[in-house]
Structures are given as C-alpha cells and as structure tokens.
Amino acid sequence: MTATFLILAAITVAGTAAAMGLRNAVHCVLALTAGFAGLAGLYLYLGAQFVGFTQIMVYVGAVAILAVFAVMMTHNPGEPEEIFSRFWVWGAVIAGAVFLTLARAIRLAFAPADATPATPAPSTTVQQIGDALMHRYVLPLEIIGLLLTAALIGAVIIAMDPKDDPTLEEDAE
C-alpha cells in the first residue's frame, strides 16, 4: 500500500466517479479519460510496461478522442440533463449483481489463507511479448487483424457522403 499506489488508485476512482456524477457531458468524458490515465499508471506501477503504454496509446489516445468527439459534436450544453433517469432501479440491481460476481471471483483467487501483498509480475520484456505473438498466438493475431480491417472498411462506407458515392448515383437515375 505504498504512496504511489494510493495516489494512482485515488485518481482512477475519482475519475470514474466524476464521470458518473458531473452534470456537463464533456466534463464527464474528460473525467473518464483521467480514470483511464490512472489505470495506465497502475499498470506501469506494477511493472507491466507494455500494457501500460498500450493502455495510454489506445484508451487515452484514441478511445478518449472518439468519445470526446462524439459528445462534443452532438451535445449542445444548453439544457442540463437530470442525474437520475427513471430506470435507476434496474441500474442499481444490475450494478449490484456485477459487483457480487467480481468480488466472489477475486476472493476465490486468494483462497489460501494469507492474502500475500501483490508481488509485481515477472518483468516481461517487449521481446518476449513479440515472440509469443508471433509464435503461439499468430492465428488469433491474424484473425483480429482481418476483423479490424473489415470493421474499418465498413465504417468508411457508412461515413461516406451519399452525394459523391458513385454506386448510389446509378440507382438514382
């Protein structure tokens, strides 16, 4: 429970809590990004450098920008939204269920009597991760690659403007 861990944990929890509580949608998204950054700090603190950097690059760099884009472009900050929507009851029930399952899973993981303090994982260098990707997990890597390209092309077609899409014009005539 060293000082850095407390700080990083505080940032993550505060960020995610603020993401839920703030009134202005844009502030929520930025608070969420702070939460992601806190999480990345935790990974680095545990010595998992590669995961930490990818977390920063993917979540803070790309996902956050996507979310900020979406919120800033659609929300006009004029009318304030009310905090509690009518279905908050269902929300609470589902949240409770999720929390219980997670708590049980963590407790089982530490079944042996002493909950030893979290020993940092053996510091795996990027080299080993690269080898693993290229040898044992090469098939899933290729499949995910294929999936991502397909998704990318799909997104481009959806976003393409109907005006300058040649295929549509033929049907129009």
């Binding site: 844009v26 502030h27 930025l30 760099g61 956050a64 920008i65 884009f69 990027v126």
Partner: protein, 402 residues
C-alpha cells in the same frame, strides 16, 4: 593521450558524476525520489531555454531569408528578445471568452505542455544520460504523443468560436493521419536494432568502419525512412507546409485563437517542445543519437551531449528553412499525401528493411544496396510519370497576342 582520454571521459560524464555526487549526500529513504528530481530539473531548464533561443533563431533566420535584419533591438543582436516576449506574455491580459467552458479552456494548454514534457523521458541526450531507460521507449514516446490531440481538441472546442472549431478539426485530422506514418517510418530502425529501447538503438549505431559511422541513415531504407520521418515530423508538430491548424491567412490562428497572455505562450512552448522531441527521436533512430559523425579522434573527444544538441540545431535550422520557403498545403491534399503516398512508402520501406536484413552480406554490402535502392526508387519514378500523363503539376506555356 591518456590524460586527454581521462579528461574527455570526465568532461563527457560531468553531469552523470555530478548527479551521483548529489545522490550520495541525500538520505537513503529519499534516494529514488531525489534521483528522479535531479534528472528532471536540467530537462525543465534546458529545453525551454532552447525554445527561447529557437524563437530568436527563427525570427532572425526568416528575416535574413527575406533580406531584412530580424529582431536586433532587445539586447545584443536581439538575443534578449525571448525574455521580452516572455514578459509580454506574462503581462498581457488573459482574455477568456464569455461563452467558453472555463474548466476545459484552462486545462487544454496544461495537458498540452505536460504531454510535451513527458515525451522527453526516454530520449538519450548523451552517453548514459537518459532519464529512464524503458525497454519499450519508442512505444512510450508515441503513446504520449497521442495524448496531445486530446488537448488540442479541448482547446478548439472550449473556446466556442467557429474558427477555433475549424482549426481543431483540422488539427485532429492532421495529427492522427500523420501519427501512423511517423510510427511506421520508425519501425525499420527498431527492426534493425532489434529493440524498442532508445538506448539500445543508439548503441546499435555506435561503431565506425574506418571513419564512417554505422548510422542507419547510410542505408537505402535509412535514407527513405529518414525522409518520411522528417515529413511526418513536420506535419506532427504543425510546422510550415503542414501548418493548416493555424493557417494564419485562412482561419487566423486555429485552435488557440481565443487564447491570450500566458496560455498562448504555453501553446507555443508546447508546440516547440513537440518539435524538439520529434527531432530528438529522429536523431536517436537515424542519426546515431549522441555519437560523433566521423570516427576521427578530433570528433570523439568532444562530449556526447554536444553532438546531440548540434544535430538538434541542424533539425531546427531545417524546419526554419522550410518555413521560409514553402506555401501551405490544402487540407484534402495534406490527407491525400499522407494516406496515398507516405503510408505506402513506409510499408514498402519496412519490407525493404526485411530484405536488407536477410540478403547475404557482401563486400561493402553492395548487392543489398543495389537491390534495396532499386525496390525503393521504383514507385517514385512511376508516380512522377503518372503525374505527367495525367497532365497534373505541369508548368504551362502561354501564347501571346500581338
């Protein structure tokens, strides 16, 4: 000679020895914290002062290119001009537009400068003078680089002005679409060095054959990689032919149009720091980091950090030279140029590096040179020929009427 060597050694390591001396005095409990702070403080001093010198260098360099003098009123030869600019930035009123979103408007430059500074953690300035030697150093650099876009958009959106929104949209599109070629242009150096850590990459380029250094620049894929890296770096730091986000003549100042006073100065500081960081990475990957350009003893005596800053100065002069000459690209051309020309070339370059690595070694590795150079030159020739057929970019002839 030995005395010279010892002196050379000690002069080169003077900062490292100073740090150990300081550390010896601090109590053990504070040891890790003190060592971090001691290595960060010179960074916070050196690079902003380099920013100050660059602003003078830029204005005088541009001036001379335009046959005028450049600032020479404040201090000898205008060298105190950055001090004057700094004071002006501090004194000027910090206007925040009424409709602006105060919090986001305030945090944008803060995050921008923070991200710019954090990127220096992995850059080796001299022999074992790197703040932290991460074994995924280059990945860290690009991860932090991607945080900058978030702050640009926060600035653009929160100032609630149409011009800043247009500027922010352009900035995001440009940065994202040039981040990919930047990463792919640096992959060949990583492949050749076999590690992501910047220190390993510099050590891999250390040796000399005869007097020629083993820099990655002197290989066919190195030249092309360096060229692509340079273009992507200019675009990434919003410098001249790609300075669309703050196209003065079109949308006035882009995303930092509603900033004034010290926040405006912070944006400039962050932009220049970003430029230095990307050039420093370019030096590390292709120009052998802090190693001397020639193997002769006269050069190797000079301390390593001097070479690093000399190369950085070379980069800065190149950026200023480009800024003084080239007009700006338009938004769609800029994107087309990135996705249609630089990205394919970067991918081809990675393939050629692989080729280079597994071709049989031969005297002066001439075979590898010819094969790789041919593979790389082919698309450029094809491209310029296709442009000619499509009658684009043609110098026209005019007929005259009597």
């Amino acid at each position: 000679m030995i005395v010279a060597a010892v002196n050379a050694g000690s002069v080169d390591q003077v900062f490292v020895l100073a740090k150990h001396a300081l550390l010896a005095r601090t109590p053990d409990a504070l040891q890790p914290l003190a060592s971090a702070i001691i290595s960060i403080i010179p960074l916070l001093v050196v690079f902003p002062s380099l920013f100050a010198i660059t602003t003078v260098l830029e204005r005088k360099g541009l001036g001379r290119m335009q046959n005028r003098l450049g600032p020479n009123r404040v201090g000898p030869f205008g060298l105190l001009q950055p001090a004057a600019d700094g004071i002006k930035a501090l004194i000027k009123e910090d206007v925040v537009p009424a409709a602006a979103d105060q919090l986001v408007h305030f945090f944008a430059p803060v995050i921008f400068v923070a991200a710019a500074f954090v990127a220096y953690a992995v850059l080796p300035i001299g022999r074992n003078m790197v703040i932290v030697n991460l074994n995924a150093g280059v990945l860290f650099f690009f991860a932090v680089g991607s945080v900058v876009e978030l702050s640009v958009f926060m600035a653009g959106w929160s100032s609630r002005s149409k011009y800043s929104l247009l500027g922010a949209m352009r900035a995001i599109a440009q940065m994202i679409s040039y981040e990919v070629p930047l990463v792919l242009a640096s992959v060949p150096a990583i492949m050749q060095a076999g590690s992501l850590s910047t220190v390993d990459i510099v050590n891999a380029q250390a040796g000399y054959t005869g007097i020629w250094p083993h820099w990655y620049l002197f290989t066919p894929w190195g030249i092309v990689g360096f060229g692509l890296f340079l273009i992507a770096a200019t675009a990434e730091s919003n410098r001249s032919p790609f300075d669309l986000p703050e196209g003065e003549s079109e949308i006035i100042a882009g995303y930092f149009i509603e900033y004034s006073g010290f926040k405006f100065a912070l944006f400039f500081l962050a932009e220049y720091l970003g430029m230095f960081a990307t050039s420093a990475l370019g030096i590390t990957l292709f120009l052998g980091g802090w190693s001397a350009p020639l193997g002769i003893s006269l050069f190797t005596v000079v301390p390593s950090y001097i070479w690093f800053f000399a190369k950085l100065l070379g980069f800065i002069c190149f950026f200023i030279w480009i800024r003084g000459t080239l007009p700006r690209l338009r938004m769609d051309q800029l994107m087309g140029f990135a996705w249609k020309f630089i990205l394919p070339m970067a991918l081809l370059n990675i393939f050629v590096t692989g080729l280079w690595r597994f071709l049989p070694a031969s005297p002066l590795n001439s075979i590898r040179w010819i094969v790789c150079a041919a593979v790389l030159a082919a698309p450029c020739v094809v491209l310029s020929m296709s442009l000619k057929q499509k009658k684009k970019l043609l110098i026209r002839t005019y007929h005259f009427a009597e």
